[in-house]
């Protein structure tokens, strides 16, 4: 009836069983997502191939999660950056038509990974202000829909009524707003400088 285990004894290094998907997701949200600004900086800085940065980011996340399903890495940051580095190397090989600098840069990645950089994501003291700033950057209609939904607490139907537009259009604005907010809140360094 009661199973018990003493986790106090140092390394909990039992790699035999797979990690539950929900645990991987939780780890991903808790440990990996806060690194997104660092990851994006890393990718932008080191990649000049043709793939979209967003595709690379997604591939890194997928690889990281697949690996974490076997065993959760002890430290997320080196693991994420190592995965990104390996992905870039794979891409360089695959795309073949990569400008030479990209390949040259890859050599230096070992250093880049440890450089302190503008990273060190400090959870913004005043996160509210950060969220507000992100909101200001949304396209007007998307912002209006998000404000009505999130701040005024309206439902989708009520937003459609208030804005005088079709419900399907409201959905598009909301979805668009959600995507842009995520890029702004996760992908940009939390300082005042926000690049386009």
């Amino acid at each position: 009836m009661a199973e018990i285990s003493d986790m106090n004894s140092k390394s909990a290094g039992c790699a035999s069983v797979g990690i539950a998907t929900s645990d991987v997701v939780e780890w991903f949200v808790r440990e990996v997502l806060p690194l997104e600004a660092i990851l994006m900086h890393f990718l932008r800085h080191n990649w000049r191939g043709s793939s979209d940065i967003e595709d690379l980011r997604q591939d890194v996340y997928v690889r990281v999660c697949e690996a974490a399903q076997k065993q959760l890495p002890e430290q997320a940051k080196p693991f994420v950056l190592m995965t990104a580095r390996n992905l870039l190397i794979d891409r360089v090989r695959r795309e073949q038509v990569v400008p030479i600098e990209a390949a040259a840069d890859l050599e230096a990645l070992g250093l880049a990974m440890d450089a302190p950089g503008p990273e060190r994501i400090v959870i913004a003291r005043d996160e509210l202000r950060q969220v507000q700033a992100a909101l200001e950057k949304l396209p007007p209609r998307a912002r209006e829909a998000v404000v009505l939904g999130r701040i005024e607490g309206l439902t989708g139907r009520e937003i459609a009524h208030r804005m005088g537009i079709a419900e399907g259009t409201v959905s598009e604005h909301l979805a668009n707003g959600i995507c842009i907010l995520a890029d702004l809140l996760l992908g940009e360094p939390s300082g005042p400088r926000i690049k386009k």
Binding site: S22, S51, E54, V62, L128, V147, L174, L186
Partner: protein, 328 residues
């Protein structure tokens, strides 16, 4: 790195758009069990889908704080900067005072409220005429006032699970630790200890007013998986997986489920349900991590296993059971 080559078949942008559509549907439109099933199936298809969805969800949950910005639009239109902001703050503070005042007034005027309570180790389920259910955990007191216009519960102490039949014409409100929790079609758990409030949403959405984050009359909106911890002057919202949440509230099934938690926490939990208290004597013992499942009244099983499996020292003295780590 070996292993699966990730083909970026549908581009990240397409998957993001799809994930964002799911999220906005769940947040702003009617959401049925069938919708949830469809979403779960979509998520189960690939890590690309999961990653996209949970990434957006995590970012989106940070905009929860926007609920504190009820004056956002006015503030913006005026372009007024500091002054307008100050006035808004002042107005919000006033609204909060008014709110607390109202709650005090309601508190005094409660002629028909019925009181229910459980003793240590007891649990009780109340079924209301409207089909709603309230489960009282150990050592809990609450009062219920139901009128044709509204349903109100005051949680005076302890912890209760609410499964509410939503009726917009007859709102359901829980008062706890000076906060007002309003149901928007929901299952949730409220726990009050001293002036600390803990609220976990298991299904649907709830609004919370008076949570310190918002010096605002506007409700903080919480949805499934959100956990709010609020004291008199601070509050935070986190999100937990379904499994973690069901562990936390396994008391409803008469069980206590611990997943890699320190012994100190296990003992604190058992002590809620028993008059014979457990005491952890030293830090080394307190820090021992435990993963286990016990029946809620299984304190003796726990003590036995602490001794036999964890090798801890157990001593009964003065009606207390003292657990310690033997000195080497």
């Amino acid at each position: 790195m070996s292993g699966s080559q990730t083909q970026s078949a549908p581009g990240a942008k397409e998957i993001d758009a799809r994930a964002a559509d799911w999220l906005q549907r769940r947040e702003f439109w009617d959401w049925s069990d069938a919708d949830q099933t469809a979403l779960d199936e979509w998520l189960a298809q690939s890590w690309a889908n999961r990653v996209a969805y949970h990434r957006l969800e995590a970012a989106w949950s940070r905009t929860n704080r926007l609920a504190a910005l009820s004056g956002y639009k006015r503030e913006n239109e005026e372009e007024g900067g500091g002054n307008a902001r100050f006035l808004l703050r002042a107005a919000a503070a006033f609204a909060l005072v008014a709110l607390l005042g109202a709650s005090a007034a309601v508190y005094i005027w409660q002629p028909k409220a019925k009181a229910y309570s459980t003793g240590t180790g007891e649990r009780e389920t109340l079924s209301l005429p409207d089909g709603s259910q309230i489960e009282l955990n150990t050592n809990t007191s609450l009062r219920i006032l139901a009128t044709p216009a509204e349903r109100q519960v005051w949680l005076d102490k302890g912890e209760a699970y609410f499964s509410i039949m939503h009726n917009p014409k007859r709102p359901f409100t829980v008062w706890a630790a000076n906060k007002r929790v309003t149901d928007i079609g929901t299952k949730f758990v409220v726990r009050q200890e001293a002036s600390r409030l803990e609220l976990a949403v298991m299904e649907g959405r709830v609004g919370v007013a008076g949570a310190a984050d918002a010096h605002s009359a506007r409700d903080l909106q919480l949805s499934q998986g959100d956990i709010l911890v609020a004291t008199a002057n601070a509050s935070s919202v986190t999100r937990k997986s379904q499994r973690k949440i069901s562990n936390d509230f396994s008391w409803r099934q008469g069980m206590l489920v611990f997943d890699d938690v320190p012994l100190s926490q296990v003992v604190a939990e058992f002590n809620r349900y028993s008059t014979e208290k457990l005491v952890v004597a030293d830090d080394a013992a307190a820090r021992t991590h435990v993963s286990a499942t016990f029946p809620i009244n299984g304190v003796e099983d726990f003590v036995k296993l602490a001794h036999r499996v964890l090798g801890l020292h157990v001593e009964h003295r003065d009606g207390e059971t003292v657990i310690s780590r033997p000195q080497p």
